[in-house]
């Protein structure tokens, strides 16, 4: 590491092909990460079959999305980071414009408009794109400046984060808003945000908790927090989901009830068993062992991501890689925390396991960026 610190990284520098570069590196595939992702994919499909009420059609659809998502990952991995960095601000502007368009031209269900249809393109959620664009934009902005960032840069970065976050929270889509805010904030933190700012922010957060509760949250969001504190308060209403999911998890025990044998999942006591609450299916049928296996795979992916970030060259690459990896962790923590009754319920899927095409494609595109970073030619071989 010390030797590398002397190296000045210069944009556009083309180093010689180092003898250490393998075939996989040449095609921009990070082999350890790919293997971990494949393991997770298979595990996820097995659980999904059970969680969907044993519908092969759902598994087929999810498999198709995975095929597409691996394609996207491979495609994104071929991008040069330089290119992404140059386009980051413009992508950000485009993303914000699309977000602004959603309330007027968007579609959606249950009073929430999240989708946008543009002629010639498949229906998509602009908020999903922002999951990658926001950290890219913040990383671009900070990487051009001296780090640790000064106060005015921090404030501008916060603006970059806050604008899309607020737009998405208003859709309303609290889960995605949290993920996007987190992805941006991680860039700030990794860039060396001074501790005193963090302290101040924390104090501000605590101070604003009451007004936020009173005016910032919608009724159903308040209800979700109340439900977390006292699920028994409304057993058949808002408490139902959390009581059933916690019961499913707890009744799984150490070894689990066996694949397809979870009574909570198979007899429909568990709501959303194929989407946001799928971890409860896994925990019921595979027990704590299954949960530990899943956490182990996730942990390995995070470690690999952090290692890629550690080795990455250039501030933009480092910050982006770190943010993508840590955001991935936020998915895991928020989802598993809410289903097990630690956190209030927000719409965050269990990454790469829950059913849902868009989140899979976004996540895999993120891993594509990680692979691009990890396989980028270095001046000093490793």
């Amino acid at each position: 590491m010390e030797s590398k610190d002397f190296v000045r990284q210069m944009p556009g520098y083309v180093g010689s092909f180092s003898s250490g570069r393998t075939l996989w590196q040449r095609v921009h595939v990070d082999m350890p990460l790919l293997l971990l992702l494949l393991m997770l994919t298979v595990y996820g499909l097995v659980v999904l079959y059970s969680g969907s009420g044993q519908q092969m059609a759902t598994v087929h659809r999810q498999g198709t999305f995975f095929g597409l998502a691996y394609g996207v990952m491979f495609f994104v991995a071929q991008f040069r980071l330089q290119f992404l960095r140059r386009w980051a601000p413009w992508l950000f502007v485009l993303g914000v414009v699309l977000l602004l368009a959603v309330p007027y031209f968007g579609t959606g269900a249950k009073g929430a408009k999240r989708w946008l249809s543009i002629a010639g393109l498949p229906r998509f959620q602009p908020s999903e794109i922002m999951k990658l664009v926001v950290p890219m934009a913040v990383a671009w902005y900070l990487s051009e400046r001296v780090m640790p960032p000064r106060i005015q840069y921090v404030l501008i970065s916060l603006l970059l984060i806050l604008l899309p976050t607020v737009l998405i929270a208003m859709q309303p889509d609290l889960g995605t808003a949290i993920l996007i805010a987190a992805s941006g904030l991680f860039v700030l933190l990794l860039a060396g945000l001074p501790w005193r700012y963090m302290m101040a922010a924390f104090a501000l957060l605590v101070g604003s908790a009451w007004p936020l509760w009173e005016y910032g949250l919608r009724d159903y969001q308040r209800q979700r927090i109340l439900t977390l504190l006292d699920p028994e308060g409304d057993k058949l209403g808002s408490g139902w989901n959390i009581i059933q999911s916690v019961t499913a998890i707890g009744s799984g025990g150490f070894e689990g009830k066996g694949w397809l044998l979870g009574t909570q999942s198979q007899l429909d006591f568990l709501p959303e068993s194929h989407t946001d609450f799928i971890i409860a299916v896994l925990a019921e049928e595979f027990g704590l062992m299954g949960v530990m296996l899943l956490l182990a795979i996730y942990f390995c992916i995070i470690c690999r991501g952090l290692y890629i970030a550690y080795l990455a060259q250039g501030a933009f690459n480092r910050l982006l890689a770190g943010s993508i990896t840590l955001t991935f962790f936020v998915y895991i923590f928020v989802n598993m925390g809410m289903v097990s009754g630690l956190l209030p319920i927000v719409g965050v899927p269990l990454p790469l396991v829950s059913q849902g095409g868009t989140s899979i494609i976004t996540l895999m595109a993120g891993f594509g960026i990680l692979m691009a970073i990890s396989t980028e030619k270095r001046r000093i071989g490793h």
Partner: protein, 615 residues
């Protein structure tokens, strides 16, 4: 980029590395938190949640026992269980009760009144127990429910055995019927025995033997999904079916008695004097008991309730009529036993009777036809055969009310016969004591005379008359009437009446001989029924006044409206030498016992005795 970038890459890398390390630390600690949470739920709290999840899915369902069947003496089914598909709702699982009921009303065309009744019943229904809304669904209705099931959470079609009475109205007043358990019954029954049972005996044998017929409830543990649909049965504890009852009733005789009454209002009770077994018990008009099983509509019910013919009224047990002349054989026995008369005693019969010191003439029934009485002098035999009132006015006067009461009491008058049916009435055997309590008046001698011809205060039910006849036919020995012959093939012992011992056994012969001649002599009041009878029988006719007649008023059947005409009665037994069947018949407003009631008895005798001979 406006400002020159003077980056300290070494510092940046160090900060970044330390921040990454910090992030890794946070990630590890948060993952550990998650793991701890899952460990806590899945290992520490495992017992709690595994119980909770079992409680979610496993439900204990009662399995109602099969109700015992009811057979007649020849093994013919009188009450059976038929599979029926019923529409049931579990109120806890119904999302919107009003909308669901509205939809069901629309789909199945259920009447609004029935929906209202169901809503009223609903609050007192056991939680998570299926409440029946409609019984006996047709194939088409079941299909309609199946198609719309997704719109009807908590609604189910359940197969259930339902009581069916193949003979409908023929046994309305004996077998009775079952119906939905009502609020009052709900409180009096042992609820644990009746979980899963919707019906209970309401009337007749179905009510009287409810305990035997019901059986014991079974249970099954079933796995249900979140919408309450049963997925599979985990464990099964069989119910114990109710016991089958075999009756003494002979359905052929029952049918004959019922048809013989035809359109008339009346009752027939036939029993075996040796066992007390009731061979036929009929009250007309009757009604189809099947209506009550699935819940009678209010329209049908008010039609039955408000009918002037009182079809719901069980005349054989509840109808209290003056016994009229059918009381004469028993009073004759009383006269002989108290030695106020002998077989040779005679009374002058000018067609009327007068108490000493009283000008009122108590007229014989023949007064309307001829003004000469039966014959100048009448003895007991002739008085029974020709039904001479004058003789009996005199006999009653000689006996006095106290001895009549004492003697009638031994024959079961004024008491319930304790037949195994519901709602029996006890008639009325008047006494001085009774009159003082009832009217605060002393007993008048004239009232004794009225009792002497079975009128006045005296009231009897048809089954009491059958029992009195049985006592005479059995020469003082008789069994209490009962319908139940055996339970699950095991015979029930008969219940004897206290034996009546007379001072002189020959008194029985005198009265029985007179009853024989009521049928088998040229002057007997029931002589017409002896024609072509291959056996001998004994009997007595009776004609009971419905409206009181003034002293000299002429009773003219033509001018009296049908409802005010006399009741026709007949009691009898056969064969004479060894009585196998006794019968009591009443035909309301049938005018004359000899013409309206006695022929019915003959048909019943034939149906029972001739069929028995053929065997």
């Amino acid at each position: 980029m406006p400002e020159p970038i003077l980056k300290d890459n070494s510092l940046e890398s160090r900060i970044f590395a330390s921040r990454l390390l910090l992030a890794l630390f946070v990630v590890v600690s948060l993952l550990a938190t998650l793991l701890a949470r899952y460990y806590y739920l899945q290992v520490s709290q495992y017992e709690i949640y595994t119980t909770q999840s079992d409680r979610n899915r496993v439900h204990v369902q009662p399995v109602p026992p099969k109700r015992g069947l009811i057979y007649d003496r020849n093994g013919l089914l009188l009450a059976e269980n038929q599979p029926s598909y019923n529409l049931t709702l579990v109120k806890e699982r119904v999302v919107d009760m009003d909308a669901t009921l509205l939809l069901l009303q629309e789909l199945l065309g259920i009447q609004a009144a029935d929906i209202e009744k169901f809503k009223k019943r609903l609050p007192r229904h056991r939680p998570f127990k299926a409440a029946p809304l409609k019984f006996k669904l047709t194939e088409k209705e079941i299909a309609v429910i199946a198609v719309n099931r997704y719109r009807l959470p908590g609604v189910d079609v359940t197969a259930q055995l339902m009581r069916n009475y193949p003979f409908g109205e023929l046994y309305a007043h004996s077998v009775g019927y079952v119906g939905r358990i009502n609020e009052k019954e709900q409180q009096s029954i042992d609820q644990s025995r009746y979980v899963g049972t919707d019906h209970i005996g309401k009337l007749g044998l179905e009510k009287y033997y409810e305990d035997l017929l019901h059986g014991e409830v079974g249970y099954e543990h079933v796995e249900t999904n979140a919408r309450g649909r049963v997925q599979r049965v985990l464990e099964h504890f069989d119910p114990i079916p109710g016991q089958d009852l075999t009756l003494f009733i002979d359905s052929k005789v029952q049918r004959v008695a019922h048809d013989a009454l035809g359109e008339e209002r009346g009752a027939v009770v036939a029993m075996d004097p040796k066992t007390g077994g009731v061979i036929a018990i009929v009250s007309t008009p009757a009604y189809d008991t099947n209506l009550f099983v699935s819940g009678i509509s209010s329209k049908d019910y008010s039609r039955l309730r408000d009918s002037i013919d009182l079809p719901l009224f069980n005349r054989s047990l509840q109808g209290q009529y003056p016994p009229a002349s059918t009381i004469k054989p028993m009073l004759g026995l009383a006269g002989l036993d108290y030695a106020v008369i002998t077989d040779e005693s005679v009374v002058a019969d000018p067609g009327w009777y007068k108490l000493p010191n009283d000008d009122r003439k108590y007229r014989d029934w023949t007064w309307q036809k001829r003004r000469s009485g039966h014959s100048p002098w009448v003895n007991l035999h002739q008085a029974i055969v020709e039904s001479c009132d004058t003789f009996y006015f005199d006999l009653a006067y000689k006996l006095g009310v106290d001895r009549i009461y004492e003697f009638g009491d031994k024959f079961g008058l004024g008491q319930k016969t304790q037949v195994d049916l519901t709602d029996e009435r006890k008639g009325l055997l008047p006494s001085r004591e009774w009159k003082r309590q009832m009217y605060r008046l002393p007993w008048f001698p004239g009232e004794t005379l009225n009792i002497g011809i079975g009128q006045g205060y005296m009231l009897t039910t048809p089954i009491q008359l059958a029992l009195v006849t049985s006592m005479i036919a059995g020469r003082g020995k008789a069994m209490r009437p009962r319908l139940l012959k055996s339970v699950d093939g095991v015979d029930r012992p008969p219940v004897p009446m206290p034996e009546v011992k007379l001072a002189d056994e020959a008194s029985w012969d005198s009265v029985i001989a007179a009853m024989r001649d009521v049928v088998h002599s040229r002057k007997g009041t029931a002589r017409r029924i002896r024609l072509k009878a291959p056996y001998k029988m004994g009997g007595k006719t009776g004609t009971a006044q419905v409206v009181g007649m003034k002293q000299d008023e002429r009773y003219d059947a033509e001018t009296v409206t049908k409802r005010n005409r006399d009741h026709a009665l007949f009691i009898g037994f056969a064969p004479l030498e060894d009585p196998k069947i006794v019968v009591a018949v009443i035909v309301e407003n049938g005018m004359h016992g000899s013409s309206a009631a006695a022929p019915i008895a003959r048909k019943v005798f034939d149906a029972y005795l001739l069929a028995e001979q053929k065997k």
